[in-house]
């Protein structure tokens, strides 16, 4: 039993005695408004018995001040005027609890994010806002009631959406800790973008060599239920108790019967662009994404298949594994925590007409170059010009294509990997073709990772790669040989430069998945302005979302390289484990409650509730009325917002509390 548990809890049933603690937050608040004046003001308000100021109330010393007042019996309600409750509400609640005060007898006035930071230049205005926010918070505090935290069990199972290097690492960590994992991947294989890469910077180790063992590890792992070619259809429930429906898309090939002979592929008459090869090669309508795919399962791409029936013939498929009538299968699983690792899309540069992508044959993207360099790629690691399939004697790379673009609709962020992958690709080519001329056109080289700067230095010094600082205004094609003629300015030498290269590689940006909205809608998580998923706090909770029990990792949260993605993967796994290891989680007891005597049973709340948490019951005294199932209620208040009789209220945001705030205009 801890020290805290032994204390008698102050429930605040007596007349409110409010302690108000106004934080300077260094100079963040105190530098804009007069904190002593705010304290003096707050002390004039009803039921306020203690008022104090301090530099940082969130610090140990600050918390101690509050605790001492509680322990001395001076106060039975705490109001802290400081930063956003989204920042430190939990901190102060714990402090209250530790001092023996029911943690829900605490309220926060946000005078930093909502006052001093947004009215920095209007100190008078900021002071007024701070004053009012304090008054409103005190008004609410007077109406607070002690509440008991609700504890719910946490299902020791994690759902991971996306099985790239990030999702895979999370899965393996979770499995190692003994938790069940459902790893859902929408394509037919795991591995993600990393499987497309040839070598990885700055160590130049082979991507496949480090990835494929992990992939087979996943497929062998007993704790990991691998669901490829599957998508999450529906997520209901809440932290610890999600109910997830997963759709397993039809392969049209019975995997039990299929012996993987591959004759069907050879006999299939339909050829389409190969996604894995980024259109640099073709595949058949029946296919395995790439040779090392895990699982190695054949799939018919029904969008391309013409159902000619050839593959279904016994002469082709001896075990008769083809089933054109295959139907999607839905499974529903109980999940405790969710990790989102859905990765990214490569920016499509065809919108940037000046670079000729999609118009000139010899203009390709960085990821396409990766496939050309890959030893199991379409040209077995010997890059060629698409125009004549010959080795290029000169290559130019252009950086920041689709990144760091401050024009309307552009991606403002840095994609963080392009400088290094262009350097890596240049070096790789140079290793085999020392005679080739390589140019990298850049704005500035960002080589911030471990060993990156050294890697870049060596590329310029030891490999003779030409780094040219300058943006390329426009390129054109030499009609005779399909070479690309580049005009630019070398801003270091301050002179114009014109080069003709045989291959032009655009280091295209990393972008959020085009359909990432479906994930935000599904999981009720948010996106930041750049379109990547939003973390709960940029510094302190980088893999948490605002929805408890859901974590984000890898590039879906923002551009990052492989080591960073793996680090986040492990962080997200650790966060999920932290939640599940306790076996139960405390949730805020902010639910809807019915005042039976007021309810007239119109049923509007039942229809309004998105969670089906309200149902009719027959009350002995009041007839057919609504009743809330607390296990399902999320406390959103959609029910209460429409109730004509105020018969349904939300604990924590009760009518009385909100009323008390509204009436404190002054």
């Amino acid at each position: 039993m801890t020290e805290t548990d032994k204390k008698i809890e102050i429930m605040g049933n007596e007349k409110p005695r409010i302690g108000i603690y106004v934080c300077h937050c260094g100079v963040n608040i105190g530098g804009v408004v007069s904190v002593p004046d705010l304290v003096e003001y707050a002390k004039t308000l009803p039921d306020v018995t203690v008022g104090r100021e301090y530099k940082f109330f969130c610090s140990d010393v600050g918390q101690k001040m509050i605790k001492e007042d509680i322990e001395a019996g001076l106060i039975n309600r705490v109001v802290v005027a400081a930063c956003s409750p989204r920042m430190h509400e939990p901190t102060f609640r714990i402090a209250c609890k530790e001092a023996g005060l029911n943690q829900f007898l605490f309220e926060m006035a946000n005078i930093r994010e909502h006052s001093t930071w947004v009215h920095m230049k209007d100190t008078e205005g900021a002071y007024e806002v701070a004053k009012d926010h304090i008054r409103l918070a005190i008004a609410k505090a007077r109406e607070l009631a002690p509440l008991a935290v609700q504890k719910v069990k946490v299902e020791p199972t994690t759902l991971i959406i996306g099985a790239g290097i990030t999702g895979m690492n999370s899965a393996l960590n979770l499995s190692a800790a003994g938790y069940k994992v459902y790893l859902v991947e929408r394509s037919a294989t795991i591995g993600g973008h990393m499987a497309q890469l040839d070598k990885t910077f700055p160590t130049m180790d082979c991507s496949s060599c480090i990835l494929t063992p992990k992939m087979s590890e996943i497929s062998r792992d007993k704790n990991i239920e691998l669901l490829t070619y599957s998508e999450v259809e529906e997520v209901t429930g809440y932290v610890g108790n999600f109910e997830v429906t997963i759709k397993k898309k039809p392969h049209y090939v019975d995997q039990e019967k299929c012996n993987g002979c591959g004759i069907c592929v050879d006999s299939c008459p339909i050829s389409v662009g190969n996604e894995f090869e980024l259109g640099l090669a073709t595949r058949k309508a029946i296919y395995v994404p790439f040779p090392q795919a895990v699982p190695s399962e054949y799939t018919i791409d029904m969008d391309s298949c013409v159902v000619c029936g050839i593959c279904a013939r016994e002469s082709v498929c001896e075990p008769l594994a083809i089933n054109y009538d295959d139907k999607p299968e839905y499974i529903t699983v109980d999940i405790g925590t969710i990790i989102v690792a859905t990765g990214y899309d490569e920016y499509d540069p065809s919108g940037l007409k000046q670079y000729g992508y999609g118009k000139y044959d010899n203009v390709i993207t960085g990821l396409q170059m990766e496939r050309l360099l890959s030893s199991f790629g379409p040209v077995i690691g010997k890059p060629v010009k698409p125009s004549d399939l010959k080795d290029p004697h000169s290559i130019a790379f252009l950086q920041c294509v689709g990144s760091r673009n401050f024009r309307e609709g552009g991606n403002k962020y840095c994609s963080r990997v392009c400088c290094m992958y262009a350097t890596k690709q240049a070096r790789q080519y140079k290793e085999k073709h020392p005679e080739a001329d390589i140019y990298i056109f850049y704005m500035d080289i960002r080589a911030f990772g471990k060993g990156y700067e050294e890697f870049y230095e060596s590329a310029a010094r030891d490999y003779g790669i030409n780094y040219v600082r300058g943006r390329i205004a426009e390129v054109r094609e030499n009609p005779l040989n399909h070479n690309i003629i580049i005009r630019s300015e070398d801003t270091l030498l301050q002179q114009p430069i014109e080069v003709e290269v045989e291959l032009f590689v655009l280091s295209a940006a990393i972008e959020p998945r085009a359909d990432s909205d479906s994930i935000t809608t599904l999981l009720r998580i948010q996106k930041s302005a750049d379109g990547f998923f939003l973390e709960a706090h940029p510094k302190l909770r980088p893999v948490d979302t605002l929805t408890e029990g859901i974590f984000i990792a890898g590039v879906s949260q923002g551009p990052k390289d492989i080591p960073d993605s793996v680090a986040q993967a492990k962080a997200a796994a650790a966060s999920a484990i932290a939640l599940m290891a306790k076996g139960e989680v405390e949730i805020e007891p902010f639910f809807a409650v019915i005042h039976a005597d007021r309810c007239s049973g119109c049923g509007m709340c039942i229809e309004n509730c998105a969670y089906g948490a309200i149902e009719y019951v027959d009350d002995r005294r009041f007839g057919t009325i609504a009743s809330v199932n607390v296990a399902l209620c999320k406390g959103c208040g959609a029910c209460s917002g429409n109730c004509r009789s105020s018969a349904i209220d939300i604990i924590g945001f009760s009518s009385e509390q909100l009323h008390s705030m509204i009436t404190k205009r002054q």
Partner: protein, 151 residues
């Protein structure tokens, strides 16, 4: 450095400033307002923020009570349609707000007194822009005196 930069003082003959009560949903708009703060985006000091779990929580009573209690304006902000943390709270609310907005106008309350908006957790800038806009609208209307009681 702990000294306030400028002493706050009550200055007379300053132009009238409206006080607007802003009900913000916890998951999108309150976070958006926080982001505006973190990003130090400046907007006029006219709103007073009340946090609610969801725009669906906002009963018409809150809005009308705010008007009768003399707030010069009411601002309500929730998650964009489809982004509601509670699936559909904002959609339920949107119908309620549409009806209320029309009724208020029909009853002779200036249309700009009560304003509704969406702002996500990532839209600190949008939040500030719309607060600025709402403030201007209310300012133009002048003080809310219709509900003052004779004493």
């Amino acid at each position: 450095m702990t000294e306030p930069i400028v002493e706050t003082k009550q200055s007379e003959n300053k132009e009238w400033e409206p006080k607007i009560i802003a009900f913000l949903c916890n998951w999108c708009s309150y976070a958006g307002a926080d982001l505006a703060g973190v990003s130090r985006i400046q907007y006029p000091p006219n709103i007073r923020i009340v946090r609610v779990p969801c725009s669906g929580r906002i009963n018409a009573y809150f809005i009308i009570k705010s008007l009768t209690d003399g707030w010069d304006g009411v601002l309500i902000s929730g998650c964009h349609p489809g982004d509601c943390h509670y699936i559909s709270g904002n959609l339920v609310a949107r119908r309620r707000f549409a009806i209320l907005k029309e009724l208020l106008e029909f009853f002779g309350i200036e249309p700009g007194r009560v304003n509704f908006m969406w702002a996500s957790a990532a839209e600190g800038e949008r939040f500030a822009v719309l607060v600025r806009k709402a403030t201007e609208i209310v300012k133009k209307l002048g003080p809310n005196t219709k509900f003052e009681k004779k004493w």
